[in-house]
C-alpha cells in the first residue's frame, strides 16, 4: 500500500501517540502539540532534503488548516491552495457551540 520512499519518510517523523479529536478538550491540545512537533520535524527533514513543497498554518484551535503547496514541472511552478477543516461537528455539540457563540441559531419563522 505504501511505497518504500513513503515508508522511509514516515519513519523519520515522530509518531503521534495521543488519540484524540477537537472535542476531547485537553487531550486535543496534547494531540495538537504532537501534530505540530511532527510537522516541524517533517518540514525540517524536507528542507534539508531540498524537498520543500508546502506552507501551512492553522487557526487557533487547530481545527482548520490552510496554506499552499506546489510542484515544479518542466521548470514551471504550479501552486495550489490547500485548506482542510476538521468537521463536521456532531449534533450533540451544537448547543455547546451556540453557547460559546461559535455559531448562531436562528429560528425558522415561516413554516415549511
Amino acid at each position: 500500500m505504501v511505497d518504500e520512499a513513503t515508508k522511509k519518510t514516515l519513519s523519520n517523523i515522530p509518531l503521534l501517540k495521543t488519540k484524540a479529536g477537537p472535542r476531547d478538550k485537553d487531550l486535543w491540545v496534547q494531540r495538537l502539540k504532537e501534530e505540530y512537533q511532527s510537522l516541524i520535524q517533517y518540514v525540517q527533514n524536507n528542507k534539508s532534503a531540498d524537498n520543500d513543497w508546502f506552507r501551512l498554518e492553522s487557526n487557533k484551535e487547530g481545527t482548520r488548516w490552510f496554506g499552499k503547496c506546489w510542484y515544479i514541472h518542466n521548470l514551471l511552478k504550479y501552486e495550489f491552495d490547500v485548506e482542510f477543516d476538521l468537521g463536521p461537528w456532531l449534533a450533540v455539540e451544537i448547543p455547546d457551540m451556540i453557547d460559546k457563540g461559535a455559531i448562531t441559531y436562528k429560528e425558522k419563522t415561516e413554516g415549511r
Binding site: L32, Y36, A49, D50
Partner: protein, 1075 residues
C-alpha cells in the same frame, strides 16, 4: 493548565512557521546532474561516452586506456564484443575506439572484430613453428580453424615470420601449405616403398589412404620420382578426378602373357575374362593386341581361325552326307547361341560362294540342316495328311470353308465390318477339326452330324453347291478359301517329329518346334490338295441325310399354314374393307412370305443352288433360285412367288398347297380340321383376335404415319363384340391387350391416371394430339370414360407440358426464327420447334412463314418498325406567320389570333407562341414618375458629377455628404405587399389582405441623411410590424428610438449604396432606378 498548554501550542505553531520559512538547502538531485550533463553535451562543451546502463560517463581517452589495459590483460588479443561487455560501454563506441587504435598504433590491428597486439602475433608464430616441427606440415586452413582468424591475415603473419621464427618451407604449388624438409623426405620414402611393393593395379586413392600421404604432396613427389625413374609402373587417368590408377609394370606384363597363352591354347578370347583381368574395352584390346591375327569379333568373344576352320569342316561334312549337325558341342561351352549363329552365317557365306546349289537351313541358331534331311523328315507326313484329308471332307468342314471363302470373295468388302463373327466361326471350325480327329471312326461322325442343327445341314448342302460352281468356274476362288483351312496344326507336326529317329534326343524340343513351324505351311498345302481329291470322291454319299430334314420342314410348314388359315378367318371378321385390305397385305408380307421362303430355301438346297443363307430371302433372290430350279417345280414356285403380290390370302394358300404337293417338295399338307375348329370357335377367335391386334400394332409401327391404328383396333373390338360366341372374351382380350405393348399400356394408363410423362413420350414419337385423343377414345370404349373428359385431360396436359419457356418476348421468338432461317430450316419445322418450346399458341404457321420470308429477303431487325404516328400540324410556315403577327402587335391575345387563323386551334397557338417562339406575356412596369428627357439629362449630369467627385476623393467624399428626405409615417402601417408573401401549394387557400385600414393620423418625418431607398425602407418595415400608435408623441419616440438603435454602419451602408445607384442611373441614361 490548558492555557499553558495552548501557549505551548501557540509556540509550536510559531516554531512551525519558522521552520517553514527557514531557507532550503540547495541540493542537486541526480536528475539535475543528468540534465546538466545533457545540456553540456548539447552545447558541445563536454565529450563523454555513456555506459550501457547509462549510469556512468566515460571520456574517450579513458576508454582508450581501458581498452589497452584489457588488451594487455588478455594476452594481446581480445574480442570487441567481449570488451564491450567488460567495459560496460556500447559496442559501437568500442568499435570506434578500436579502429582509432588500429589506425594510430602500428603494433595493434583490428581483425574480424578482434583487437590483436604484436606480442600476440609473436606468440602465435612461435606456436606455429612448434606445430610445424611436430607435424611436419601446416596449412593455413588448419591454422585458420585453430586460431579462428582469417586465412589471408594468417598468411601474411606466417610469411612475415617464415625463416625468422618459423623454420619451414612454403609449398610451391600451394602457397597455403608449409612443411619441413624432413617431412617431405619421409613421405617420399613411404611412397617409393609402397609403389615398389604393389603387384596389381591399384587406385591412387586407396594407395594414399593406406600410406597416409596427402594427395597433393603425392603428386608432386611422384612426378619427382618418375623423373628419377624410381617407380616400376605407370600412372593412368587424370590426377584431379581421383580415378587415376597405378599399374605396375609387372602386372601388365603378366596380363599380356596370360592373354597370349590363352589364345594360343584355345583359339578364342572371351571378353568377360578380359574384363576380369581389368581391361575395360576388350574388343579394342583384342584388335590392338593381335593386329595380325584374323579374329572374328562376336558379341561375347573373339574367335580365331582355328575354331572357325573346325566348324567349317563339320558343316561341310553334314552337307556332303545330307544330314544335320549341331555346332554347339563343337564350340567352347561358354559360347552363346547368338555367337554360334554368327559363326554359322559367316561359315555358310563362304559355302555359298563355293557351292551355291546347296540349300541349307539354320535352326535354333546353331543347327545346320540340309535340304535332303528335311525331305526325309517330311516323308512320314504323307500318310497322315491323306488320313486327315478324308476326315475333313467327311466332317463337312472342308465344304463350309470353301463356301465361306467363296462368300468372302463375293463380298469381301461388305464383310469387312464384321471380323469378329468371322473369327468366331473359324474358331468353331478349328474346334471341330480337333474334335473330329479325336472321334476316330466314321460312325461317331455320323451321330455328330445328326445332332447338329439344321443350319449345318443346310450349310453342307450349300457347300456341295459351291463345289459345283467351283469346278465350273475354275479352282481360283476355292484356293484362297481353302488356304485358310488348317489341315495339321503345329502340335500335330511336333508329335510326329518326336517319333522320328533322328530327333530322338531330349533337348531337341526347341528344334522340333522350329522345324514344325517351318514344315507347317507346306504340309498344309499338300494336305488341302489331298482333301480336295477326297472330297470329290465322297460327294455322292450325303443323300440320305436329306430325308430327315424333309420331314422336319414338313411339320414346320404345316404349323405355319394352319396359322395363316386361322388369321385369314380372323380377318374376315372385319367389316371395314379398307382395314381388312391393309391387314391382309400385312399378313402376306409376314407369315406368308415366311412360308414361301422356307419352301424356296428347301428347293434351293435340294437342287444345290448357291444363295445367301444368312439373309432373309428377298424377291430377287427368290427369282434367282427360281431360275436355277428344276423345270418340274418351276411352274408352281413361280405361281407362289407371284401370288404374294396379289392381295388374296386364299390364292396364296392354294399356291402353297400345290407347291408343297408331289413333284415339287413332296410334302403332305394336313387338311384343315373342321371339327376341331368349330368346337372351340370362341377361343380360336379370341386368340385370333389377339394375334391380329398383335400384328396390327406391329403393322402400325411399320407405317407409323400412314395409317391410324386406332381404327384397326376399333374395328377389331367391334368384330369381337358382335360375334355372339365371343362376348365373354372381351375382358380377357382387354387384359391381354393391355399387357402386350408397353407403349399402348402407357397411353391407356395415362388416360386413366393423368400421367403426363406418358403423353410426353408419345409426343416425342411424333404423334399429334388427335392421334392421342383417338387412342384415348379407343380405350375409352373399353374403359368407359367419357370422351369429352379424356380430350380435355389430354389437351390440358398437352398444353401444360408444351410451354418449356412460357410467354417469351416477341422479339425473342423472332430472333429464334431468324436463327433457324439462317440455317435454312423449313418454316414448318421452325413452327414445330417453336411450339415445342414456347407452347402451341406462340405463333401461327402463317406468321412464321411471313417472318422467314422477311428474313430471307434481308431483314435484319427483329423489332417492329417505329410507327410514325399522326403528323404534327406545326410547320415552319405557321410559326413564321405567328411570329409576324406578334411583331405587329405585341399585345395580342390568343383569342384574337385564333380568329385570324381559324385553321389553327387555340392550343396549337399557345404551343407555337410559348414553345417555338419562346414568348412570355408580361405586364408593363409601373414607375412612380414619368421622367422627361430633361429630367433624365439632369439626373445624368448629377450622377456624372457625383461619380466624378467620388472618383477624385474616394471614401472621404462620402463622409462629407449630407442628404435629407422626408416621408409620411402613419399611426398604422399595413404590411407591404412583399412582406405578405409566403410559400404555398397551388391547392391551398389564398390569404386575403385588406389595404383599406386607414390610419387615423400621420406625421411627416424628415431625416437629413438619406434618400428613402435605404433608411425609409427599413423604417417602414419596422413600423409595419403591426403596432398601432395612440398619439403622435408615441409615434415620434418610437421612430426616434429606432433611429438611435441603428448602428452607425447601417447609415454608412446607405451612403455607400449611392455609388452603385448613380452608376446604374448613368448606365440607363438617367432612367428611373428602382431597387
Amino acid at each position: 493548565m490548558t492555557a499553558v498548554e495552548w501557549d505551548e501550542v501557540k509556540r509550536l505553531a510559531a516554531d512551525f512557521q519558522r521552520a517553514q520559512l527557514s531557507s532550503t538547502v540547495q541540493r542537486l538531485s541526480e536528475r539535475n546532474c543528468v540534465e546538466i550533463v545533457t545540456k553540456l553535451l548539447d552545447l558541445k562543451l563536454l565529450d563523454v561516452i555513456f555506459t550501457t546502463d547509462g549510469k556512468e560517463y566515460v571520456t574517450p581517452q579513458q576508454l582508450t586506456r581501458e581498452i589497452r589495459d584489457e588488451l594487455y590483460v588478455h594476452g594481446g588479443r581480445i574480442n570487441l564484443v567481449e570488451l564491450a561487455k567488460l567495459l560496460n560501454v556500447d559496442l559501437s563506441q568500442i568499435t570506434a575506439r578500436a579502429t582509432e587504435i588500429d589506425r594510430v598504433d602500428q603494433n595493434c590491428s583490428l581483425v574480424l572484430g578482434q583487437l590483436i597486439d604484436k606480442t600476440y602475433l609473436n606468440h602465435i608464430a612461435e606456436e606455429i613453428n612448434e606445430r610445424l616441427l611436430q607435424q611436419g606440415q601446416v596449412t593455413i586452413g588448419d591454422l585458420t580453424r585453430h586460431y579462428d582468424l582469417p586465412s589471408d591475415f594468417l598468411q601474411t603473419v606466417v610469411e612475415k615470420q617464415l625463416g625468422k621464427t618459423i623454420h619451414g618451407k612454403q609449398d610451391k604449388t600451394d602457397p597455403q601449405v608449409f612443411f619441413t624438409e624432413s617431412y617431405v623426405a619421409r613421405n617420399r620414402a613411404c611412397i617409393r616403398g609402397a609403389l615398389a611393393a604393389v603387384m596389381r593395379p591399384i587406385s591412387i586413392a586407396t594407395l594414399l589412404s593406406q600410406c597416409g600421404v596427402e594427395e597433393r604432396l603425392f603428386y608432386s613427389i611422384i612426378d619427382n620420382l618418375m623423373e628419377m625413374k624410381q617407380v616400376p609402373g605407370v600412372i593412368t587417368g587424370k590426377q584431379q578426378s581421383g580415378g587415376s590408377m597405378y599399374i605396375p609394370t609387372i602386372y601388365s606384363k603378366s596380363q599380356n602373357d596370360w592373354v597370349n597363352s590363352f589364345y594360343k591354347q584355345n583359339g578364342y578370347l572371351e571378353y568377360d575374362a578380359l574384363s576380369r583381368l581389368g581391361i575395360s574395352d576388350p574388343q579394342l584390346f583384342v584388335r590392338k593386341h593381335f593386329p595380325n591375327e584374323k579374329l572374328l569379333l562376336l558379341p561375347s568373344c573373339a574367335v580365331g581361325p582355328q575354331i572357325f576352320d573346325q566348324i567349317e569342316a563339320a558343316v561341310e561334312e553334314a552337307i556332303s552326307t545330307g544330314s544335320m549337325v549341331d555346332v554347339m558341342p563343337l564350340l567352347p561351352s561358354l559360347f552363346e547361341p547368338e555367337d554360334a549363329e554368327e559363326i554359322l552365317t559367316e561359315v555358310l557365306k563362304n559355302f555359298k560362294n563355293k557351292s551355291p546349289n546347296q540349300n541349307v537351313h539354320i535352326f535354333c541358331n546353331s543347327m545346320v540342316l540340309t535340304e535332303q534331311f528335311m525331305q526325309k523328315l517330311a516323308k512320314p507326313f504323307d500318310a497322315i495328311i491323306q488320313k486327315k484329308a478324308e476326315e475333313i471332307v467327311s466332317s463337312g468342314v472342308y465344304l463350309s470353308a470353301q463356301a465361306e471363302s467363296k462368300l468372302q470373295n463375293n463380298r469381301s468388302l461388305i464383310e469387312q465390318d464384321e471380323p469378329s463373327s468371322k473369327a468366331d466361326r473359324r474358331e468353331e471350325r478349328r474346334k471341330k477339326a480337333t474334335g473330329g480327329k479325336g472321334g476316330g471312326g466314321t460312325q461317331g461322325r455320323e451321330t455328330k452330324t445328326k445332332s447338329t442343327k439344321k443350319k449345318y445341314q443346310r450349310g453342307k448342302v450349300t457347300a456341295g453347291d459351291s463345289d459345283e460352281e467351283v469346278t465350273s468356274s475354275g479352282g481360283k476362288a476355292s484356293k484362297s478359301g481353302v488356304n485358310k483351312l488348317e489341315m495339321l496344326n503345329i502340335e500335330d507336326i511336333k508329335e510326329v517329329l518326336i517319333t522320328d529317329e533322328f530327333l530322338q534326343e531330349d533337348d531337341f524340343s526347341e528344334l522340333i518346334t522350329e522345324i514344325a513351324n517351318y514344315l507347317h505351311p507346306s504340309l498344309n498345302k499338300t494336305g488341302l490338295a489331298a482333301a480336295q481329291v477326297v472330297f470329290e470322291s465322297t460327294m455322292a454319299s450325303t443323300a440320305q441325310n436329306r430325308r430327315k430334314t424333309h420331314s422336319e420342314l414338313q411339320d414346320k410348314l404345316n404349323a405355319m399354314v394352319t396359322n395363316v388359315r386361322l388369321f385369314e378367318k380372323g380377318l374376315k371378321q372385319f367389316s371395314d374393307k379398307d382395314v381388312q385390305q391393309q391387314l391382309i397385305k400385312y399378313l402376306l408380307k409376314t407369315l406368308c412370305t415366311e412360308i414361301t421362303n422356307e419352301i424356296f430355301s428347301y428347293v434351293a438346297q435340294e437342287n444345290m443352288i448357291q444363295y445367301d443363307q444368312a439373309k432373309e430371302l428377298s424377291p430377287e433372290i427368290r427369282m434367282k433360285i427360281l431360275n436355277d430350279a428344276p423345270n418340274e417345280s418351276k411352274e408352281s414356285l413361280l405361281k407362289l412367288h407371284k401370288s404374294l403380290n396379289n392381295n388374296s390370302v386364299d390364292e396364296v394358300l392354294n399356291c402353297i398347297e400345290t407347291a408343297l404337293g408331289p413333284g415339287v417338295c413332296d410334302m403332305i399338307l394336313r387338311k384343315p380340321d373342321k371339327k376341331k375348329e368349330s368346337a372351340d370357335a370362341g377361343g380360336v377367335v379370341t386368340i385370333q383376335y389377339w394375334t391380329l391386334s398383335n400384328f396390327a400394332i406391329s403393322y402400325h409401327y411399320e407405317f407409323m404415319h400412314n395409317y391410324d391404328m386406332s381404327n384397326i383396333i376399333f374395328e377389331a373390338t367391334t368384330a369381337v363384340r358382335t360375334s355372339p360366341s365371343t362376348v365373354g372374351t372381351v375382358d380377357s382380350f382387354r387384359g391381354s391387350s393391355f399387357s402386350f405393348t408397353s407403349d399402348i399400356t402407357n397411353i391407356i394408363s395415362s388416360s386413366h391416371t393423368n400421367n403426363a410423362a406418358c403423353i410426353w413420350t408419345f409426343r416425342i414419337q411424333h404423334f399429334n394430339i388427335l392421334t392421342i385423343a383417338c387412342y384415348c377414345r379407343n380405350f375409352q370404349y373399353l374403359a368407359e370414360v367419357s370422351w369429352s373428359r379424356l380430350v380435355a385431360v389430354v389437351w390440358q396436359q398437352w398444353s401444360e407440358i408444351e410451354a418449356l419457356i412460357p410467354s417469351p418476348a416477341a422479339c425473342k421468338v423472332r430472333s429464334v426464327i431468324k436463327f433457324f432461317n439462317a440455317q435454312s430450316i423449313a418454316p414448318i419445322e421452325i413452327h414445330r420447334q417453336l411450339c415445342q418450346v414456347y407452347g402451341p399458341n406462340i405463333m401461327s404457321k402463317q406468321m412464321v412463314r411471313c417472318w422467314c420470308r422477311q428474313f430471307s429477303e434481308g431483314r435484319q431487325s427483329v423489332h417492329d418498325e417505329e410507327r410514325s404516328g399522326r403528323p404534327s400540324l406545326i410547320n415552319d410556315d405557321r410559326v413564321e406567320l405567328v411570329w409576324q403577327c406578334i411583331m405587329e402587335n405585341r399585345r395580342f391575345t390568343i383569342m384574337e389570333l385564333s380568329s385570324h387563323f381559324p385553321q389553327i386551334s387555340r392550343s396549337l397557338f399557345h404551343e407555337i407562341v410559348t414553345k417555338h417562339l419562346l414568348f412570355k406575356k408580361v405586364c408593363a412596369r409601373w414607375v412612380p414618375k414619368n421622367l422627361t428627357p430633361e429630367h433624365k439629362m439632369q439626373r445624368l449630369g448629377a450622377a456624372l458629377t457625383f461619380l466624378q467627385w467620388y472618383h477624385d476623393d474616394g471614401d472621404e467624399f462620402l463622409d462629407r455628404i449630407v442628404t435629407g428626405d422626408e416621408t409620411w409615417i402613419s399611426h398604422f402601417t399595413p404590411e407591404t405587399k412583399q412582406q405578405s408573401m409566403h410559400w404555398r401549394h397551388s391547392g391551398s387557400p389564398v390569404r386575403t389582405k385588406f389595404k383599406q385600414m386607414l390610419s387615423v393620423r400621420k406625421v411627416m418625418c424628415t431625416v437629413f441623411w438619406d434618400s428613402d431607398f435605404h433608411v425609409f425602407l427599413h423604417l417602414k418595415k419596422f413600423l409595419s410590424s403591426g403596432e398601432r400608435f395612440g398619439n403622435d408623441e408615441e409615434l415620434k419616440t418610437s421612430v426616434t428610438r429606432w433611429f438611435h438603435s441603428q448602428a452607425a454602419e447601417f447609415y454608412d451602408r446607405g451612403i455607400q449604396k449611392l455609388i452603385p445607384q448613380y452608376d446604374k442611373c448613368l448606365n440607363s441614361d438617367g432612367g428611373y432606378v428602382e431597387k
